[in-house]
């Protein structure tokens, strides 16, 4: 019944739990709708018609951190914004990932001054850094693909830690 009748003659597919879960995690990732500055506009371009992030199951941006599992820090993080960002990160449910988009978020960029946090990794752990000022949508998509690869390589023994 059920699965066998629908699969017909395809037989049985075997896989490991790791692969199945990692496939599920990469296939429908919900990013947090979090735009800060210039990079947010390129992030919007990546989601709009020409670049179409929904090809990778990522068109659904959630405004609530509770419902999202990826935060794309798109833009310069100021000292005033830093606690807000940390709070948003803390509110996200595990498993969660972080992409630092653009030079300002990655290392402070051209703004080595009193106002800007010199790299968002001073506040939250970052999985993938995307360089560029601002990065092209292709670069962001490449960053996301890199994150997907990273997630697919995760092992079951590390999940609990």
């Amino acid at each position: 019944m059920g699965v066998t009748s629908k699969l017909g003659n395809l037989g049985i597919v075997t896989t490991t739990l790791e692969t199945a879960v990692n496939w599920g995690r990469t296939g429908a990732m919900w990013p947090l709708l979090f735009g800060l500055a210039c990079c947010a506009i390129e992030m919007m371009s990546a989601q709009a018609s020409d670049y179409d992030l929904s090809r990778f199951g990522m068109e659904l941006n959630r405004a609530s951190p509770r419902q999202s599992d990826l935060i794309i820090v798109a833009g310069r993080v100021t000292r005033k914004m830093a606690p807000v960002l940390r709070q948003l990160y803390d509110q996200m449910a595990d498993p969660k990932w972080v992409i630092s988009m653009g030079d300002c978020a990655s290392c402070g960029g051209v703004y080595n001054n009193y106002a800007i946090v010199q790299g968002v990794d001073e506040i939250i752990p970052v999985d993938v850094y995307v360089a560029g000022c601002p990065p092209r949508p292709e670069q962001l998509i490449h960053g996301i693909m890199t994150l997907h690869e990273k997630i697919k390589a995760e092992r079951i023994v590390h999940w609990a830690s």
Partner: protein, 421 residues
Amino acid sequence: MVTGIQSRETGTKAVWEGSLEELRGLVTERAMTGETMLLNMGPHHPSTHGVLRLLLELDGEQIVTCLPDIGFLHTGIEKNIEDKTYEKGVPLTDRMDYLSPMSNNMAFCLAVEKLAEVDVPERARIIRVICLELARIASHMVWLGTHALDMGAMSVFLYCFREREHILRIFEMISGQRMMGSYLRPGGVWRDLPPEFYKAVTDFITYFEPKVDDYEALLTRNPIWLDRTQGVGILEPEVALAWGVTGACLRGSGVNWDVRKAMPYSDYDTYDFDVPLGEHGDVYDRFLCRVQEVRQSVRILKQAMKRLPKKGPFRSDNRKFVPPPRRELGQSMEAVIHHFKLWTHGFDAPDEEVYVSLESPRGEIGCYLHGTGGNKPRRVHFKTPSFMHISALPVMSEGYLLADMIAIIGSVDIVLGDCDR
């Protein structure tokens, strides 16, 4: 107690931990007794167009007071420019109003040109007009897309970004970067136009013109759109002038003020275009004004493309301000000296102060520049439209419903990078 809770996981400080007493005088007495509700909106909110935080006092669903809290994107750009030579200041201005970087470049370049008395050849002025108008269209496309998205019209967003991509491709063609091109430089533009530019712009004009009708077909007589926008966020002309509101927000209230007409720069007085005006000063009239502005921009683009010669100077040949082209370096010792001097020291500008303003897509952007007599400015200050518009937000929103706040924020078209700098 107004914003968020203390983070349990890490114990980091919440955004604001003040007491209600601190707000005495800013909100009404009714909020002190708990009769009205205080609601925090932002800085992380999908409809504040960036990192704006609003503290709203609500009586039921009605807004009693609105307190904008800015500075979440303060980057210290003005201070950073003070430590750079004049030409190196241009890339920093790109990142203020990141929806139309060309307008910021232009404001800074005009100020430097006025201070140092650099001349700009005519062809460069035409190229600048084309860039500025393309930037205006690109910026208005983002405004229209996000404004409509906030109000629930998803498809408009997708169409607008499709058109914007065409403009960004043209920008990439001329400057090598999609958004932050720093293409306009003191004395003209960075480099000559590539040969494919002419066809790309004329193709864009023929492609884009009928598309504006499509957006109007989607929105202008859409009953949901009318219900959400008409009679909402009314800004009386006198109030608008008193708050220093400029751009389409001011023209939506019926005040005829466009810097391109009033104080022409870059030969704008020789172009034939109209200034669209609204009547009621509500969200809908601001929408109509901006859509008409896009049509006028296309008109200016057409005229400029007709005028633009295929060959000619694109930058001043005053070697005291503009570095010589690369081919001259192998032949002329003087060119080598100028090249070295300009890329190490830059040029000197007198110890005087200048102020120029121009019409950016958001409104009047002004640049105040004070030289030192040396190669770096003493003070740079930008008068940016978004800052003025955020100050006027309380006047526009008080008495309207909370849901109208989204429409009002969308209609004034704020960019927080422009406001906080």
